[in-house]
């Protein structure tokens, strides 16, 4: 039976009939704040707590009005409505929480940022102490864990690194060749490709891929371990979570990143070589000859030197964000996002610092 209710102004009575459940709210008449002295439930066929509360709220009970007289309720309905009435004071309509103004948001943000930096410094300190303690004792290194991490981080990333860098090499050579051909400077395209791929594109793109792929995975994994209290369990067993979890990952990244950058170099040059052959009539023999003439070892080394620095920062940020997960599922997601964003920002800034430094040092 559908729910109905009408208000009898003369008797100040609210008369309800039918099935009173949550959906019955639409059946409530417009009371315009008139008092309800009597609640008539003689024609009710069903009543649940949601329906009972709606009737009592219509009588203003949640706003502190006195309990109306109950008329015609069956004993079980009466018991239910009395039970609900006991808890009505707790259901008073509450004002919406005040929103933060710009000033308090800025202040809170600044404090959070300060805590974040302090936490990172603390983490770096602990990591340094633990690493120094481990240096003299190779027996305590987690070789197996290290090998597993290198496999995940290095071998797993090879296909994507090769694919990305090959395509970037193709695009770069194509655009550069298009310009160079106008001036008949076809052969200088080789110089440009080598310089760009080895020195900038490969290290930065590989770092970005690793930050998105491995950095996010590390944070999510350590964060979930934190939520499941696995990290507490490691500490309780007398092991150091930093030595067991962080140092193998950091070392693995240190090993994997330069290798990935080198693979990226080869893939990028190969992509450039293909385009040079098709578009600029530079045969692969000419390309390699030119490479032998103009490629300086330092160009290769600059790219390979950047890689471990990026690796350290990615590992630091990812592990630290993993450890700072709190015990709810949302913070795992938030920290994983934060890891990727922080890593990307760090990579771009570091790359700029490198560029300026190398120019100033005339390298």
């Amino acid at each position: 039976m559908t729910a109905r209710a009408r208000y009898d102004a003369a008797a100040r009575a609210l008369i309800a009939s039918g099935d009173w459940q949550a959906e019955a709210a639409a059946a409530l008449p417009d009371m315009a704040g008139q008092p309800v002295a009597v609640l008539d439930g003689s024609a009710l066929t069903r009543l649940d707590t949601n329906g009972a509360w709606l009737l009592l709220a219509a009588a203003g009970l949640d706003a502190g009005a006195p309990m109306p007289e109950l008329r015609g309720f069956t004993p079980s309905h009466r018991a239910l409505i009395e039970l609900v009435a006991q808890h009505c004071t707790a259901t008073a309509r509450q004002p919406d929480a005040a929103r933060d103004g710009l000033r308090s948001l800025t202040g809170r943000g600044a404090v959070a940022m300060g805590r974040h930096v302090a936490g990172l410094l603390d983490f770096v300190g602990r990591l340094t102490v633990e690493s120094l303690a481990l240096i003299g004792r190779p027996g305590q290194w987690r070789w197996r864990e290290l090998a597993a991490q290198v496999r995940d981080i290095f071998v797993g990333a090879i296909p994507i690194v090769v694919g990305m860098l090959f395509l970037l090499g193709v695009v770069f050579a194509y655009l550069l060749g298009d310009q160079a051909r106008k001036y008949g400077a076809n052969i200088f395209v080789v110089d440009g490709i080598l310089m760009a791929i080895l020195r900038e594109i490969s290290p930065v793109i590989v770092a970005i891929l690793v930050a998105g792929r491995t950095g996010a995975a590390i944070t999510a994994q350590l964060g979930t371990m934190k939520v499941n209290e696995e990290i507490d369990a490691i500490a309780t067993l007398g092991l150091s979570p930093v030595a067991v979890l962080v140092i193998p990952r950091m070392l693995a990244l240190l090993i994997a990143m330069p290798l990935l950058v080198f693979i990226g170099d080869v893939a990028g040059i190969f992509g450039g070589m293909l385009v040079a052959q098709e578009q600029l009539d530079i045969s692969s023999h000419m390309f390699v000859d030119r490479m032998a003439d103009v490629l300086l070892l330092k160009t290769l080394l600059i790219g390979l030197v950047k890689a471990p620095v990026f690796a350290i920062f990615i590992a630091l940020i990812a592990c630290r964000m993993g450890f700072s997960v709190t015990r709810d599922s949302r913070s795992v997601g938030a920290n994983t996002t934060s890891t990727v964003v922080q890593s990307l920002v760090a990579i771009i800034i570091l790359n700029a610092v490198f560029a300026v430094t190398f120019v100033q040092l005339r390298i």
């Binding site: 709210a25 639409a26 239910l80 707790a90 259901t91 509450q94 709810d328 599922s329």
Partner: protein, 254 residues
């Protein structure tokens, strides 16, 4: 009203090559408070998941309110889901929402009430679950285990279900909170006319609030009845199970 709310006929389940259920038959009538017991690995929680439509049995029929769960269309299943509430073992509260919004979520999704009213109803349920008013704005992670269970109970009650499933409601609670939770369940069952189907290991729960106990053993229903009736059954696991309590009650050493 003594109609059947839940009926299970000849359910067989195979999980990972292991035969868990080998023909389960049971029925629960309206208004009963029924407990399902059995040793570890007898498939109590699996059966519960099959009843609430999360896991499909290999064969057999499960009916809720006369409607087969596994033959229902998604729309029918959703209507069915509004008529029962589930309390998961660890509460399964949404950690990103505060307590009030956790309880109000079923109301947000399944009714057309304005959100303010849903939150007021949520606070009513929190009150019914015996929680103080100040928990409403807290996050689940700030609550104790017992409070989390009560919030989960309030959420299970949000849509005023006719049938409530509880998965080990007192596990992880201290004895005092566990008994208080038992009393709360019984009080709600009596005052709201709920039918309750619970999976438990807790002997004290069985002795205090249960109308009928169903025992699972070797993939079948071993017996069903009051605790006194079950004690008459000759089964080694059941004897050891009830003996655990008599040992506890008898004084040690003197």
């Amino acid at each position: 009203m003594t109609d059947t709310v839940l009926e299970i006929r000849d359910v067989h389940t195979v999980l990972g090559g292991n035969s868990i259920h080998r023909g389960i038959d049971l029925a629960v009538r309206r208004g009963e408070v029924v407990a399902l017991i059995g040793g570890s690995g007898t498939g109590k929680s699996v059966l519960l998941r099959e009843i609430i439509g999360l896991l499909k049995p290999r064969s057999g029929r499960i009916e809720l309110f006369g409607q087969s769960v596994w033959d229902a269309t998604p729309a029918q299943l959703n209507l069915l889901r509004r008529r029962f509430g589930v309390l998961f073992q660890d509460g399964a509260l949404f950690s990103s929402l505060n307590v009030e919004d956790n309880v109000a979520t079923p109301l947000f999704e399944h009714t057309t009430l304005p959100h303010g009213t849903c939150r007021q109803l949520a606070r009513l349920k929190l009150g019914l679950a015996n929680l103080p008013a100040d928990v409403a704005k807290k996050k689940p992670s700030e609550l104790s285990g017992g409070m989390r269970k009560r919030v989960a109970l309030a959420r299970a009650l949000a849509l005023d279900p006719e049938l409530l499933f509880l998965d080990e409601p007192t596990s992880g609670l201290d004895p005092i909170s566990a008994r208080a939770f038992d009393r709360l369940i019984r009080l709600l069952a009596d005052s709201l006319g709920l039918t309750i189907f619970l999976v438990t290991h807790d002997l004290d729960t069985l002795f205090s609030i249960i109308d009928r106990v169903i025992v699972l053993s070797n993939g079948r229903v071993l017996g069903s009845g009051t605790v006194a009736e079950l004690k008459q059954l000759d089964d080694p696991w059941l004897s050891a199970y009830f003996a655990a309590r008599t040992e506890e009650a008898s004084p040690h050493g003197n």
